[in-house]
Amino acid sequence: MPNPLIALTIGLVIGIIAIIFIYPRKGILSRLKRSTRDKERVLIEDTLKHLYDFHNKNLLPTNESIKGILNVSQKKLNMLLEKLNSLKLITQNGDVFHLTEEGRSYALKVIRIHRLWEYYLADKTGVNPKEWHLEAEKFEHKLSSEDANKLAAEIGNPIFDPHGDPIPNEKGEIVEVEGIHLNDLSNGETAKIIHVEDEPHEIYEQLVTEGIYNGMEIRVIENNGNSVKFEGNGDEFIFAKSFCRNVLVKKTKARTEISEATGTLSSLDIGEEAEVVAISKACIGMQRRRLMDFGIVPGTKISAEMKSLGGDPTAYKVRGTSVALRKNQSDLIFIKNIKKAA
């Protein structure tokens, strides 16, 4: 028998190595798999996406801009661009690159998978909104067009991704979203957020942390040109202009529903009754549909019945049924007319 100290050390080392190797996503094994598999495909697709993106923003993609996105050496980049040229996906005009028709539809195919996956994550899973985009960045290179169509069919052929971006259809057609930037609103105007830009990621993450989501209703309190002060869901926000440019809105005539709310369901005490005003648009997908299946729609009477041992979840009486909701769910249900239950 070996010395226990030596055995323990060896055991620990083996354990740690095993973890480093097989750890999901971040382990060496999955990294290796990612880096060897279709590395070229990833580079090609990212380049095409970049060109498409710049084209849409009326910017000119250059050698430098592509290099910045892909993070590769000049030599590698040259090889890549040559390949793209030979595949007739791009054309080069001096230092400026353009997508060919095929290149454009390829880029749209990648964007389609990206946005479908974001929709899937938002609709079916509990993955944090901050991670949708990053997960989709990895996933977009993994599907074929047929698989993408299957995925789309399974999730009900969505038209928009959770950020409000239109999803290209299987033929590669895409609609335009019309909207104005948040900082184009003037004092007192009301609007609905229709798009939250997910790049750059740092700003997007900040926006999500602040509680900004697609579909949120807002009212501008003050816009002084440099920053915008506005309110939504009973909270006040002050955003610098650079932030506002990442949020697209559509003006609405008057604030509806949520502005009437006096609180969220989670603030309802046991024995109290209230009327549902709306389910926050931050609650999406299966979660939202399930709440509505239970009969939680605007106008529904709801009363808090009892709290569980630990205080969360709480059971609510809705249309004659006791339904347990976790706090993160009841936080997203706006209510009014709180009174003692009958």
Binding site: M1, P2, P4, L5, A7, L8, G11, G15, Y23, P24, R25, L121, K124, T125, G126, V127, E135, I159, F160, P166, N169, V175, G215, I279, I284, M286, Q287, R288, R289, R290, M292, D293, F294, G295, V297, P298, G299, T300, E305, M306, K307, S308, L309, G310, G311, D312, P313, A315, R319, T321, S322, V323, A324, L325, R326, Q329
Partner: protein, 472 residues
């Protein structure tokens, strides 16, 4: 021509969808419920609050109260186990004396009378029959008691309240409160616990519940735990403490299992299962008086017989294998002994021995036959005479002292005992359970994960326990 017309409809629908945005489902549900309320208000009259309702409310208040809720739950669980263990003792030993002690020698004599070759008698009677008989006598009585009791609580409406109470804890590890119930069901039988995960309607949470169910110490493993704890842990402390300490050790193992199931749930929900579909919903049904006979019948048929049948189907080939490895010789030494001698040095690193490893490999169909197999193999390899019934014939002894003496002469120590208890908790699910996992998930990947994850944990835990033990 016609096709164009159809395509036009779809194109039109897509155009309309762009205008509608995401509002469609919302406004549709709103309209439906508006109409539903309208109709309901016309036809339903509720007279003043009924006694029944008040009674339900009172009960709910007690069950979910801070002071009574938790003790009540443990009391219920303890009562179910106590009734199961106490109630199963007598029928189990009756079945064993009938199937194992009476029929087995009878059949064997019959085969000898008919001058059927030894080899066939061994395979059929000592192997196949005995394994099946063992599984029936050990599994049937406790399950026939446990499942109806559980089903009664379920039908009454108590279990959904338990899920409600436990959800706070399970939410923290990324799981569903109903997992508390499938876990409790797993204490009866992991295969049944896995079938029970059907009540979890969210795919991700259901997968977590399936993968971690094996950490519930099932019915087949309790006797092993109790026996080993009595011999080794009870034997290591003064006699007047033996009972309580060994009982404490078994409870500790069960609690350790719960801790592992929570830990693994957390790990899974943070890593591999992060991207799986997930929603939370839990409805609390009204209390309903359970129907005794119906419950007895359905839980017997749906759960007990179902699981038992699967177990027997898997036990028969295992019985044959057990007999064969102990009776086929290479160079005059049986395959089993070859294996044990070769594996022993490695097994010792984990505080186990070759016999235990072999027993766990060939007794995969049911944890119930692990101890009989271990005893048989120990007697065989340690060349103990006057014990057991020959190579490949599993046996058990009524006397704990005799069992202990066999194990001690097989070279077992307190460390072996502790590690066997740990390994019995942390090893692959039995083949019935593995098959059930496959049936329920329809995924080879998740079946493999559920099978190998506990073994890896078991190997790690026993290794570190052994080496740290040897340090001191």
């Amino acid at each position: 021509m016609k096709n164009n017309q159809f395509d036009k409809i779809i194109a039109e629908a897509n155009n309309l969808r762009i205008d509608l945005g995401n509002e469609l489902h919302d406004s549709l549900m709103e309209s439906i419920y508006k109409d539903a309320s309208k109709i309901a208000s016309k036809v339903v009259t509720v007279k003043d609050e009924s006694k029944k309702y008040k009674w339900d409310q009172k009960l709910d208040r007690i069950i979910t109260s801070r002071w009574f809720g938790l003790p009540l739950m443990f009391l219920m669980l303890a009562a179910v186990f106590w009734i199961t263990i106490e109630g199963a003792n007598v029928p189990s030993s009756m079945l064993a004396s009938l199937l194992v002690d009476t029929f087995h020698p009878m059949l064997k004599n019959l085969f000898i009378d008919w001058s059927i070759p030894n080899f066939i008698t061994g395979v059929l009677i000592d192997g196949a029959y005995l394994a099946a008989a063992w599984v029936i006598s050990v599994m049937l009585p406790p399950m026939a008691i446990f499942f109806p009791l559980f089903t009664l609580l379920e039908d009454f409406g108590y279990l959904p309240r338990v899920a409600f109470n436990m959800d706070g804890l399970y939410k923290k590890v990324g799981a569903h409160g109903k997992q508390a119930l499938t876990m409790a069901m797993g204490f009866g039988c992991n295969a049944a616990g896995i079938v029970a995960t059907r009540v979890i309607d969210s795919p991700r949470e259901r997968l977590i519940a399936i993968i971690t169910n094996n950490f519930s110490l099932c019915n087949g493993r309790w006797p092993t735990q109790i026996l080993i704890a009595t011999i080794f842990i009870g034997g290591a402390v003064p006699a007047y403490l033996a009972g309580i300490v060994s009982a404490g050790a078994v409870v500790f193992i069960a609690v350790l299992g719960i801790a592992f199931s929570l830990l693994v749930s957390w790990g899974l929900s943070k890593t591999v299962l992060r991207g799986e579909a997930s929603t939370f919903s839990l409805e609390l049904p009204p209390y309903r008086p359970p129907r005794l006979l119906q419950t007895l019948y359905t839980s017997l048929i749906d759960r007990t017989i179902f699981v038992l049948w699967r177990a027997i189907v898997f036990a028969i080939p295992a019985g044959i294998v057990i007999w064969l490895v102990s009776n086929i010789n290479i160079n005059n030494i049986s395959i089993a002994e070859h294996f044990i001698t070769n594996v022993n040095p490695y097994a010792l690193l984990f505080g186990l021995n070759g016999v235990i490893i072999l027993a766990y490999i060939i007794a995969i169909p049911a944890n119930e036959i692990v101890i009989p197999t271990i005893l048989m193999l120990t007697v065989m390899t340690a060349k103990i005479t006057g014990m057991g019934e020959g190579s490949g014939v599993m046996f058990e002894l009524d006397s704990v002292e005799q069992t202990a003496s066999i194990l001690y002469s097989g070279g077992w120590t307190l460390l072996t005992g502790i590690n066997l208890m740990l390994f019995s908790l942390l090893h692959n699910p039995c083949s019935t359970t593995i098959f059930t996992i496959y049936k329920e998930t329809k995924s080879i990947k998740w079946t493999l994960v559920s099978t190998f994850l506990p073994i890896v944990l078991g190997i790690g835990v026993t290794f570190f326990v052994t080496q740290v033990w040897r340090l001191f």
